[in-house]
């Protein structure tokens, strides 16, 4: 935060802007149409579903109820409204509306690419907010790539969090991957650079780069991340082949802001949805796909090396509509 005159001036400006906003917004809103009627739920869920299936015609209320079901799994109000509108257009009397809805949701992810690494040294950069499960995902991904016959190196460029290095090291050991790491506090870009050199020197054909968790709203940390990516580009002669954003399935509407910020900073190529073994359904990726076009590449479900699976839109969609 700037000190001295700067802060006060900026503060006064923000205040003025706010008041200006009040003036303008107040004017703009006068012509707006009124809001919709409030929604109310009645009856139990099971009861409701029984009534929906095989029904000749579904009422507006029925569709609203389905829409709200999606909101309850974090799909977000807008995305929920959009898919329900589309499903409604396709729906024919007698069908299970949830089946139609699931098809509609799965269809959004139709033709999305899976993880694609070139021959030779493929580079994967893994990013996300604190606690989303980046390091665990990296262990699982290393295991998976090793299973595909690749020799894998893992770089720990999370030089910030206490004991992050030890955690990556343990996962690398479990997955049988090489580890490139430096001391806590080292420059993350330098670690990334060394990692590419080392992986190449050792003839590895996959390098997974871990990064420190960071809140997407902290610009200096996002700038640092962009730098790590640039350094990788410089060292490898091309952009990382995949930039995976790890999103915790329990994340609510903030997930969209996360995805947007990371996509802007480092050009995310796909999402890994973690902690899908709990009660959360990860509906936020629907908004992320709809708004930003980011595909989901993997789903993580546990703490074992094997618990990383290619994303299956249909089973994801089924779980989503069934709550």
């Amino acid at each position: 935060m700037p000190s001295g005159v700067g802060l006060e001036l900026i503060l006064v400006f923000v205040l003025l802007a706010l008041l200006a906003g009040a003036v303008v917004i107040g004017r703009g809103l006068r012509e707006r149409p009124g809001p919709a009627e409030p929604r109310r739920r009645r009856g139990g869920i099971a009861d409701r579903v029984r009534k929906l299936v095989g029904k000749e015609r579904l009422s507006d209320e029925d569709w609203r109820w389905l829409e709200e079901g999606l909101v309850r799994v974090d799909a977000g109000a807008r995305a929920a409204a959009e898919v329900v509108t589309r499903a409604r257009e396709r729906y024919e009397p007698g069908q299970d509306p949830r089946g139609v809805l699931a098809e509609e949701i799965a269809g959004i992810f139709d033709g999305d690419p899976g993880l694609a690494l070139p021959d030779g040294l493929g580079i994967v950069l893994v990013v996300g907010v604190n606690g989303s499960g980046k390091t665990t995902t990296i262990g699982k991904l290393a295991h998976r790539l090793a299973g595909d016959g690749r020799s894998v190196a893992v770089a720990n460029s999370d030089t910030f969090r206490a004991a992050a290095g030890e955690q990556v090291a343990e996962w690398a050991r479990r997955a049988g991957a090489d580890l490139v790491a430096q001391e806590r506090g080292a420059d993350p870009g330098a670690v990334a650079f060394d990692a590419v050199e080392a992986a190449r020197a050792r003839g590895r054909d996959a390098l997974i780069v871990d990064t420190a968790g960071r809140l997407h709203s902290k610009q200096p940390l996002m700038d640092e991340l962009a730098k790590v990516k640039r350094v990788l580009e410089k060292a490898a002669g091309r952009a990382p082949d995949e930039v995976l954003l790890v999103i915790d399935a329990t994340t609510g509407q903030n997930g969209l802001a996360q995805a947007r910020a990371f996509a802007e900073a480092v050009g995310v190529t796909g999402v890994v949805l973690t902690k899908m073994d709990g009660t959360a359904r990860g509906g936020i990726v629907l908004s992320v796909r709809e708004d930003l076009g980011l595909p989901v590449k993997f789903v993580a479900t546990g703490e074992k090396l094997e618990d990383l699976h290619p994303f299956d839109p249909r089973s994801f969609a089924d779980a989503l509509v069934r709550g």
């Binding site: 935060m1 700067g6 703009g28 006068r30 609510g252 709990g278 009660t279």
Partner: protein, 441 residues
């Protein structure tokens, strides 16, 4: 996304306020919009509905309907009920002077337990306690190392003796009592609430240590799942309260509302940064503002309505948006804004400003100095700062009792601030937290 949300609130509140009389139907319509906003802030659906029912009952009550400004009353009810739902008044975290007092930290993987433990230890030490940390997360690789490293950073001892979480916790209690440590904070493994084995383990740690507080760390970005998580932990380990973590991001933190509501337990702390000192006692009223996306802008605007010359302010605002804002305008607005009260307080009312206000000391004298500098300029200089040459700067400096450096700094910052304003407004409707219009504009 947030622009829509805040605009929506602005629209609702404006609508309500502009009515001389309120029909219950209009209240319902407003509540439907508030509901949408709450869901966008990740308040659980069931919690939002219970909350709105309470607001409705009060809002269609006689007191409101008979009021001269019913809309105003409804807005007030919403914010009051929200604060109430979040626990009402701020509840301080108290520990008995036991030997030792035990705090157990639980939560899902990645919710920020380990960091929260270290922050809490530091907080308690600053309050004069002698904490000991126990690393009983034997599941996540290097979790024990992490706590040891954090302990070293904040200079609080850490123990982890034993093969399983229960043994580690038990040994730590003994150790604390032997070493004269009067608080023991036990960090446990992250666990999903649907993992019966791990949940039972948490229950056993609880039984073995008889904690005075069992806290659950809840990530501020958690969505609808928050209620299921909180209920499951409540059932298994009987929580005494919550720590909301990662509240320094842009999450609205509706989860805080949800967990308090379904468990009846308060949020004691909020984690607001990556440093060990970044832990704040939780204030329900501030959180309510945050969820509503208002900061305390409503109060601020109300103040402005009362004290500022609205005609002048509206004109200045228009000029600002057209990038015609001059030092002259700035001076007059500066004087108007200062009528509103100390800048430190105003800062605290801005969206996101509350945290800023607690960490930044606003120096009113700096503002006075800026005022003096501009006052020492000629009208021509104020309208066109480009003409201010070196000799003029010296004159202005001596006229205002400041240095040429101060004058330079002011001019530079004014220029930057103006550019920033241009970016912010884009010459169009500013993307700013919604709020009612100023009457008479």
């Amino acid at each position: 996304m947030f622009e829509q949300l805040t605009e929506r609130f602005g629209a609702v509140f404006k609508k309500l306020r502009s009515r001389g009389k309120l029909h219950p139907k209009q209240v319902d319509a407003a509540l439907a919009d508030i509901r949408a906003a709450l869901l966008a802030a990740d308040v659980a659906v069931e919690v939002a509905d219970t909350f709105l029912e309470r607001v409705r009952v009060r809002a269609v009550g006689e007191e409101v309907m008979r009021s001269i400004t019913p809309g105003q009353k409804v807005v007030k009810i919403v914010s009051e009920e929200l604060t109430e739902t979040l626990g009402g008044t701020h509840r301080p975290f108290r520990l008995p002077s036991a030997d030792p007092a035990v705090v157990m930290m639980a939560g899902l993987q990645g919710s920020g337990k380990t960091t929260a433990c270290a922050k809490l230890a530091l907080h308690l030490r600053e309050k004069g306690r002698r904490p000991l940390l126990a690393a009983a997360d034997l599941q996540r690789p290097a979790a024990v190392d992490q706590l040891f490293a954090l302990g070293e950073e904040i200079d609080v001892p850490v123990v982890s003796e034993g093969r399983d979480a229960v043994k580690v916790a038990k040994a730590a209690v003994k150790r604390a009592s032997r070493d004269g440590r009067d608080v023991l904070i036990v960090d446990t493994a992250g666990r999903l609430h649907v993992d019966p084995e791990m949940m039972r383990e948490a229950g056993r740690v609880r039984a073995a240590t008889k904690p005075h507080h069992v806290l659950m760390a809840v990530d501020a970005t958690v969505g609808q799942d928050a209620v299921r998580q909180a209920r499951a932990f409540m059932d298994e380990v009987d929580l005494t309260g919550f720590v909301i973590t990662k509240l320094d991001g842009d999450a609205r933190g509706g989860a805080a509302l949800s967990v308090t509501q379904v468990t009846g337990r308060p949020v004691f702390f909020a984690g607001v940064g990556e440093k060990p000192g970044d832990l704040e006692p939780f204030h329900p009223d501030r959180m309510a503002s945050r969820i509503l996306g208002m900061g305390d802008v409503l109060t601020l605007v109300e103040k402005a309505e009362k004290t500022m010359d609205q005609e002048e302010s509206a004109k200045a605002a228009e000029r600002m948006m057209r990038d015609r804002f001059t030092l002259e305008d700035f001076l007059s607005q500066l004087r108007e804004v200062r009528k509103l009260g100390p800048l430190q307080d105003l800062l605290g009312m801005l969206p996101g400003g509350a945290e800023l206000a607690s960490s930044v000391e606003v120096d009113e004298r700096q503002v006075g100095r800026a005022e003096a500098i501009i006052s020492s300029m000629t009208l021509e200089e104020r309208r066109n700062p480009a003409i201010i040459s070196g000799s003029r700067r010296a004159r202005i400096a001596s006229g205002s009792g400041t240095s040429v450096g101060d004058v330079n700094a002011l001019l530079k910052q004014f220029d930057e601030a103006r550019k920033m304003m241009k970016r912010l407004t884009g010459g169009r409707l500013p993307k700013l937290p919604g709020m009612p219009r100023i009457p008479g504009t």
